[in-house]
Symmetry: C2
Subunit: 703 residues, 2 copies
């Protein structure tokens, strides 16, 4: 576990300043803040949808341009026998687009690389990933994912939408941005970790809603990853934000596609309209097997990608030019693989049932089109739709099988590159491919059965594959149900996803959890490991504890802040020390003070010996002003005589921090810590003396 | 607040017996219990669906019989001019059916009366409503609601489905039933409040899923009402149970309606298939207004029903014969009102667009049918579908308006009778009626506009009305979205429901909350009232506290249990009393012991002075054996010499009860209490001395 990750302060510090502010401002202010929260959530939803639309429209324009040119040259060169030209064109398009994406994800802002879902998971878990919610990250992500998808790589744009939503939420709710050096100042009340994390939950949900057209799935995603106590008003607001997101996206995309008012574009990822999705209960065992296959393939995918990631960590590290290089190679390889497949496999179908505008004839007869050409000359989402909705007999098994193998290997290679990239579409596409194969096999085995619909099996395969890779349960099921638009098909999807998860979990973790583990982020699981009731607080906590007195000398404070890296310090009364307690772990618990609060107090010179300054009233706004980037202790300027002054910590500390008895078992500690989103949990003895402190890193060891 | 309601013990008592059992049984047992929980949830889902099917099929058969006979006689008597006959027949059918329903809901089991949703809300909140999850209640409810609906009253069957699901869950998970005097004994591990409440959450969700075809709505309903810490595994299991419920219901009903495999019956409440549900963003203000109207009408409904309920409480009380009488009067009145409407209002439409099999001609010409006859001669669900799907121009505004007024008043009168009855359908039907009126008005105002679809406005009106009456937010929105099957229409529904709730909340509470308030149940809201940070534990808690010593004399225990009504007693060490503490509130907190545990110990004669019996090992199974109905202290037989013996409470008590410092503010107390589902929260002083105890009744005062 890496020591560099800090946690969010989700707990409310009810010190005298907060009570004073509440008393002074009264109920109208509370009401106004409540309305502001709804307004901000509405803006977050709309802005997330607009960003999603911009990305989608840009990708549409770029890919249309690219495939139009490619089609033109291919059709021409088939006759003139100069097929090298479209091949080189394809490779160049890919490489050029991907260079831009790689620059965004490697040089401009490395945090923007990858899907963004692991980072958002960590943030909702309570861990601050540095620079993860900055505007710069958003821009790098949006531009990068546009060019990744346009560059024909095996990526999707849905995962980055969740990250974008989180960034938009963090930016809008704070009313200020470090990247843009702007400070609007209207949302000063929201400048604390708690409000920010709540808004980021809403932003992530809006991102999921925009990406998949799944508002309820977005809410469940936020709830699952946050895993705190049930907050009714927040959940309702998040739901509202997701709905607004879906609505705005629908509006804009419908207008763009020339069908204003039709509202047919519920999400970026459009599964298309299934005519019927009936299933017989006899098919359930088939779905179960497909879930198992999805789990196996997903575990295989994760294992290979894990090995590749470790290889990259060792040999590429953070060298941006090498990351760009690797991305270029992958781009060129993708074009090459596609071209070779189209060139060698002559799977021809009559034009008429072809959904792709840029299908090419290649070596087929007149009035026919090359199936693999149709699969490759479109965005991956469109290929997914092809597998779902093309009538039976649209593909030859060999084409589908080869497409699956090639795309599967490319997806393993692509995920983890230094480019913004989503993982949902590659998972869905590979799954749709082998699912369709299963459907084709079944229709060959039972030629007269009405229930064999290759499109349905493609859908189940897509769910199984994605479930096997990401191992998300509740939110993924609801997302897929909403994306399909069919509640009755929820049970097969659920059974498939459960099986994929159980089979995959037998071998390794989900890919996001692997990534988080590789980065050493101290993320907390949903509950303590089983049979851990015999582990008690003394085995979990850290001791001895660094504490402060209620009235503490500045010299002590500065020394402690300089020598230790802790962020929370219990405030104890040393006078009531028991003679048995040794060392510094002594004294009755009075409160808890944070490093950020001490730094602010030192900056504001809240010394007892300077009553003039004290009567100037340190207020909540002083603490909010430097949020979120407080200066380090070395940046605080203090004169030598200040060191002899004292600070009274009592008005500023948290007077009732959560504390547990020393005989509390691990499951109870875990429940309290995770459920309340705590950062510090003080362990006290039988007589309320501080004996230890429990933080995230202490708990994250137990898995 | 009534003092008679007890709470559930949701907290886990980690005493030495539990640790011993866990250690002895090890990981395979944990695994087996985990699998059992999934199996039980699956059974709960399937059983709930089967009960729903039985109810639905019985209602279908009874109403088909009734309306066939009525149609026959009406058609006959129109020609023979003997219309008294069908009127008397109608009234007799209604009265006969309703007598059976009233006997179920008033004599057999009064808890079965009403919708059951308030009782389930209370149970999930943590309050034990007596007899609410007994098999007898289930039978009374199922039979009663069948005959209520068949009796033509303004009721629905969906609310009772939730209650049935809860009962099935409680019964199946415990493996024993007091009503049936059966004890299967396989689920002995689940015999405690925590497991039971978790399963009841699953059962309630399965009930919602079966009733509305809304599995995700069911999960959100359970989560909303439970409002505890996020429990990932439980939520996933509840979702699975809901899915199984929807699937089984779909299977059985499809087979019954002769379309096996079609799976077109996702829920009991079938909104029918909407061809298109497009809306222009210009319509959103109209939806907003409709939400406001729904809020006003809902507040009006609730206020009248409240006054009626108080009247009933004063004059009818619990006298079963008077309740049956009132139900009979309402049944006759319903038939009379319907008959008068059909007789007097001659709204005739040509046959062809008529969806009702039993439509009658009355005084219309040949080839025509009477609109109001079509509305009255079918179940309310079918009337809702009529309003949603009948083509424009199917009704005359006067018929719809009169139907609305009459049905609205009947619904107010019907809810609160001593019969099992649901409230969702009357709310949806009245809302669909005035919504359709709005739609008709709009199409008269804008004859050429394509977006005016009376069915769409009927849907919005139905949502607004229901939202105005029940004031549920998150779960109701998702339920309606799933029942409609259209995610894009989620935003209008959401806006409508938000507005209806806000407008209605200005006047009074939702109807379920009113009912709960009338019964004096100490239910806890989602969070503490605003601006309550200045209220601290001493203003909330009870003091002095009745406590026990770790080794306590039997005489003391028996005396305390006989004279006090408390159910939880802190265990303190008197030796470390501070001299300042007065009276009995003294001593360092060591643990918490429950009345049920003390009773079991007394019954098992776990005295220190009888080591032979002690070495027989009191184990967890002794405590589970008497669950859930422990004998009272007077039923425990103790000899005179036993009174001088002592019991060592330490192996059996909860050694680490949740405790809070005396300077904890009310919001923090509330969060901990509600979030963990606690029953007792001990308040300690600075030196860990017990000074008070907080229970539900102390917190429920603050609203
Ligand atoms: N005041 C303290 N006195 C002694 N040990 C502490 C104190 N605070 C934290 N620790 C311990 O130091 C180790 C590192 O924790 P760290 O200092 O990073 O905590 P933190 O920064 O306050 O919280 P986090 O890193 O989770 O945001 C942990 O094992 C923790 O228990
Ligand atoms: N051990 C105790 N000593 C003193 N007062 C108590 C004790 N337990 C409960 N009370 C107080 O008695 C009042 C009635 O509570 P009651 O006895 O019904 O609690 P309970 O039965 O333990 O919990 P509940 O009724 O919520 O299930 C409350 O104000 C409560 O705070
Ligand atoms: Mg730290
Ligand atoms: Mg009580």
């Amino acid at each position: 576990l890496s020591a560099k990750y800090e946690s969010l302060d989700y707990d409310v510090c009810e010190n005298s300043l907060l009570l004073e502010e509440e008393r002074r401002r009264g109920y109208p202010y509370i009401l106004r803040m409540g309305i502001s929260r709804w307004l901000v959530m509405c803006i977050i939803g709309a802005a997330t949808a607009l960003v999603a639309c911009v990305i989608d429209i840009s990708i549409d324009q770029l890919t249309t341009l690219k495939y139009r040119v490619l089609k033109k040259f291919t059709d021409q060169c088939i006759l003139e026998n100069c097929l090298v030209t479209p091949f080189l064109l394809w490779a160049s398009f890919n490489v050029c687009f991907v260079i831009i994406a790689a620059i965004c994800g490697s040089c401009v802002e490395p945090v923007a690389a990858g899907s963004g879902i692991p980072q958002v998971k960590c943030y909702l878990n309570g861990v601050k990933i540095p620079r993860v919610v900055r505007i710069k990250t958003l821009l790098a992500k949006a531009v990068g994912v546009t060019f990744s998808v346009a560059g024909g790589l095996a990526v999707g744009k849905e995962g980055p939408m969740v990250h974008s939503g989180a960034v938009i939420a963090a930016g809008v709710s704070q009313g200020k941005s470090t990247s843009l050096k702007q400070d609007i100042g209207i949302f000063e009340y929201f400048r604390e970790d708690r409000e920010k994390r709540d808004f980021v939950s809403g932003g992530a949900a809006a991102g999921v809603a925009a990406a998949f057209g799944a508002p309820v799935g977005g809410v469940l995603f936020s709830l699952e990853e946050g895993a705190s106590f049930w907050n009714q008003s927040l959940t309702w607001r998040i739901f509202f934000g997701s709905m607004v997101s879906v609505f705005v996206l629908n509006l804009v995309l419908s207008a763009y596609h020339g069908q204003p008012g039709q509202l047919a574009y519920a999400g970026l990822l459009n599964f298309g309209k299934f005519d019927t999705l009936n299933y017989d209960w006899l098919e359930l065992p088939i779905f179960l097997c497909m879930g198992g296959i999805g789990g196996l393939l997903g575990a295989f995918f994760n294992q290979l990608n894990y090995k590749l990631s470790k290889f990259r960590m060792r040999h590429i590290g953070h060298r941006a030019w090498m990351q760009v290089m690797e991305a270029m190679i992958v781009a060129a390889t993708t074009a090459t693989a596609g071209f070779i497949m189209i060139y060698t496999i002559d799977d021809c179908r009559p034009i008429g049932q072809d959904p792709n505008k840029f299908s090419i004839q290649m070596f087929c007869g007149d009035g026919e089109y090359n199936t693999l050409g149709a699969l490759w000359f479109q965005t991956p989402e469109a290929s997914v739709r092809s597998f779902f909705h093309d009538p039976p007999g649209s593909h030859h098994p060999v084409s589908v099988m080869s497409f699956f193998i090639v795309y599967f290997l490319l997806a393993i290679w692509t995920y983890g590159l230094g480019i913004p990239s989503g993982l949902f579409i590659p998972g869905l596409l590979t799954g749709a491919a082998w699912g369709r194969l299963v459907g084709m096999g079944l229709s060959a085995a039972f030629p007269t059965a009405a229930w064999v619909d290759p499109g349905k099996y493609a859908l189940v395969g897509a769910g199984a594959m994605l479930g096997g890779i990401v191992r998300m349960t509740l939110s993924l099921t609801v997302i897929l149900i909403e994306a399909t638009g069919n509640i009755s098909f929820g049970l097969p999807l659920m059974i498939t996803l459960i099986t994929a998860k159980w089979v995959g979990d037998y071998f390794n973790e989900g890919i996001y959890d692997m990534q988080i583990g590789l980065a050493g982020v101290p993320i907390l699981a949903w509950e303590a490991p089983p049979l851990s009731r015999t582990i008690y607080a003394p085995q979990v906590m850290s001791h001895p504890v660094i504490t402060f007195s209620p009235v503490e000398k500045v010299r002590n404070i500065v020394n402690v802040l300089k020598t230790e890296v802790h962020n929370g310090f219990p405030v104890v009364e040393h006078s009531s020390c028991d003679s048995e307690e040794l060392g510094r772990s002594c004294g009755r618990l009075r409160g808890l003070i944070l490093r950020s609060q001490l730094i602010t107090l030192l900056q504001q010179r809240a010394f007892n010996e300077e009553p003039a300054l004290l009567s100037r009233h340190i207020a909540m706004k002083n603490f909010r002003a430097s949020y979120p980037r407080y200066p380090s202790i070395r940046e605080v300027e203090l004169k030598e005589e200040d060191m002899e002054h004292t600070i009274d910590l009592r008005p500023y500390m948290n007077p009732s921090p959560y504390s547990i008895q020393h005989n509390t078992s691990l499951p109870r500690i875990y429940l309290l810590f995770r459920g309340l989103g705590l950062r510090h949990l003080v362990v006290v003895s039988d007589s309320n003396q501080v004996v230890g402190v429990v933080t995230r890193k202490d708990l994250a060891r137990f898995r």
